[in-house]
Point group: C2
Chain length 125, copies 2
């Protein structure tokens, strides 16, 4: 129970604060953007090309949220054509180890999970 107090129910707000953070961190694209930016500062188009499946819209929205949370910095250069660079802040970099831990878990268990899904889906539906 003690560990759990530190992960979910912390400090009597019913875990609302923590859930607010986890909801943002654990959405569809945040992890991938953070992991990609770990390589260094990057332009919008470069991010778009390197994160398979993301749309411009979701890239924009997720980057804005990351900027709002102080995890990513946005630098716009007054050039033509425009240039905007994104980079992890120190706080953003501190997210990398736990994010990678989770990603590694996903990779390690990806085959087994897929197999479980297939079994589950073919049983009856």
């Amino acid at each position: 129970m003690e560990q759990y107090e530190h992960t979910c129910m912390i400090r009597g707000d019913g875990g609302r604060a923590i859930r607010g953070i986890l909801d943002r961190i654990c959405d569809k694209w945040t992890m991938l953007i953070v992991a990609t930016l770990d390589e260094g500062r990057m332009r919008f188009t470069h991010l778009h090309q390197h994160i398979p499946g993301i749309s411009q819209r979701m890239l924009t929205l997720t980057l804005r949220n990351l900027e709002r949370d102080g995890l990513v910095s946005r630098t716009a250069y007054a050039e033509v054509p425009p240039r905007v660079e994104y980079a992890l802040t120190d706080r953003g970099k501190s997210l990398i180890p736990p994010a990678l831990a989770l990603a590694r878990w996903a990779i390690e268990h990806s085959n087994d999970i897929q197999a479980s899904r297939d079994t589950y889906d073919t049983q009856d539906g």
Copy 2:
């Protein structure tokens, strides 16, 4: 780039497999359910009471997905009133360390992130 290959772009499917796993793990409730079940096997109602804010509907749906992925086992007893117990499988337990790492990060940075959000929101909107 090498680390990234192992987190996002792995094995030429454009990262689709990994994203499929991460999308499921990183949804709104999965982490909290897994963290809660770390305490031991639990009944539906107990889970419902201990995860602040979750609805019966989302608890049912998320548990079903966890079962499908082989992370949670479901045991129904033919009693009246009905009794259904959920527990982490070994695979589910293996998710605990990375999940806790992420939760700890969220807790450590929760205040700073909230402050950043407030600043961002009051700047102009």
